[in-house]
Amino acid sequence: MSEFVKVAKVADMPDPGKLTLEVEDSVVVLFRVDGRFYCIDDVCTHDGGPLGEGQLHDHAIACPRHGAKFDIRTGRPLTMPATVPTLVHEVKVEGEDVYVRINEA
């Protein structure tokens, strides 16, 4: 199982906001919404699109390529054309730092 990796400072993340990161062997997107942090793969399961470049509305991120939306809390697809969830990674905040642990499922 992979370890938590320090990825950002709490103060550096706007709310709402998103940040694309390279963590170990994955490219992920870190979100901050209503004071809480979430992290999912930077991969739209429809066409492999970069979710980090999409628009964030509440807890939904829209893929810039074809508009598929995903719930950033669960990774679940909310609209077509995506039908399969994207991977969710564990996040924790300790003091001023945000940590991510890559889901190796």
């Binding site: 390279e22 062997d25 490219v27 991969v43 066409d47 492999g48 970069p50």
Partner: protein, 400 residues
């Protein structure tokens, strides 16, 4: 040119499904002279085969080579491209100057052109029939690079069988391969070319491969890809002389988080040519393949007969195969067809096999073998058929 060119972007159609953001060129160094000669990994393809000769490179440096006197006396050349361009420059220069692979196609092609070293060359003079296979092995140690350039030249009426193999030492080894393969099949010549890519699963593999086939010549090209972390291969066959034919057989097996991308182009430049591309991929775990094939027919290439097909077998719910066949036809009297299938293992087949006493794993293995059988039947070299069959069967995991 390398400095002027950008890295492929995520919006480039050719790279839209292949993410190389985690590839960091500065983690690698140019091939350095080896401190001591190390043994190359053992060959898979040539086991039990009587060879006309071998050429071996290690970490992009010539390691060893041998050619039977019988063939050397007939003018055949085999060995490291590094060495043979010095010893036989006059002979090889015209072929290298043809730039079969476009050195400016993309940044990886530029990188290869600027930095190539090692690699192999086979030259078969006019009318010489080499009736024993030639073996070329490019090996790479963990974390190193391979910028090998492979050049195969068959003059008019010549015949040869070439087994090429790229291999690492450990299953999880990393590294960078940025290579090119150039194949010239002269008028009436006949080449069987086999390539097994079996790097460790941490290797970045970028390759440009192009063959040009002359009048009434034939090429059978078998590609097997099992290794690497991410592979992006452009395979291009140019049918340049009237009556040329080529058959391409592709076998891909992926696991873990491997990502293999193949872009194939069968380019009909002359009339009465025949091409037949068949790629089959089996995927397990979270691996992914992308196959994008194109049949291009030039305005003068009447009576073309072109076929392309890609079949994918998904062994897990998380694997993904993208298949994008395409046609670009500018002649009006041709027969060009294509097909693509993607599916999972049929539970009823597994149930039937298990009811006859097989375990689930044995059942899946049989189904995978059956899936590839169509390609194995087309491979006429027994050692290659056996090596691929065993390598794939050993990789199939247990699924519930």
């Amino acid at each position: 040119m390398f400095g002027k060119m950008d890295w492929p972007g995520r919006r480039d159609e050719e790279w839209i499904r292949t993410d190389i953001r985690l590839f960091k060129l500065d983690k690698f160094s140019l091939p350095a002279a080896r401190e001591a000669a190390a043994a190359a990994p053992s060959s898979v393809l040539s086991e039990g085969v009587e060879l006309a000769g071998v050429s071996v490179s290690l970490d992009s440096w010539p390691s060893s080579n041998r050619l039977d006197r019988r063939w050397a006396e007939q003018g055949v050349l085999l060995g490291s491209l590094d060495q043979l361009v010095v010893e036989h420059g006059e002979r090889l220069r015209p072929f290298l100057q043809r730039r079969i692979v476009n050195p400016y196609y993309d940044k990886f092609a530029c990188l290869h052109t600027a930095c190539w070293s090692g690699g192999h060359v086979l030259y078969v003079p006019r009318g010489v029939v080499v009736d024993q296979p030639v073996h070329m092995l490019s090996a790479m140690s963990d974390g190193r690079v391979d910028f090998g350039h492979v050049l195969v030249i068959l003059e008019d009426g010549a015949e040869a069988t070439v087994l090429t193999e790229t291999a690492g030492f450990g299953e999880t080894d990393g590294g960078l391969h940025c290579g090119a393969t150039e194949i010239i099949v002269g008028r009436g010549a006949n080449l069987r070319f086999v390539n097994l890519q079996d790097w460790g699963q941490g290797v970045w593999h970028f390759a440009h491969q192009r063959a040009v086939v002359g009048r009434d010549a034939s090429l059978q090209w078998t590609v097997a890809a099992l290794g690497s972390r991410l592979a992006k291969v452009n395979q291009h066959v140019g049918l340049m002389g009237e009556g040329a034919s080529c058959q391409v057989n592709g076998v891909l097996f992926t696991e873990g988080k491997q990502h293999l991308t193949y872009h194939t182009l069968q380019h009909h430049e002359a009339p009465h040519c025949h091409s037949d591309f068949l790629y089959k991929a089996a995927l397990q775990d979270r691996s992914r393949t992308v196959w994008r094939g194109m049949i291009k027919v030039d305005p003068g290439a009447q009576k073309t007969d072109g076929y392309q097909r890609n079949d994918n077998l998904l062994l897990s719910d998380h694997a993904r195969a993208d298949s994008i066949p395409g046609l670009e036809i500018e002649a009006d009297d041709v027969r060009c067809t294509h097909g693509s299938t993607s599916g999972k293992v049929d539970d009823e087949l597994v149930f039937y096999a298990m009811s006859r006493g097989f375990t689930r794993r044995e059942a899946v293995r049989m189904i995978v073998s059956g899936f590839f059988q169509q390609i194995f039947d087309r491979i006429t070299i027994e050692s290659v058929r056996d090596a691929l069959g065993h390598a794939i069967a050993a990789r199939v995991r247990e699924y519930n």
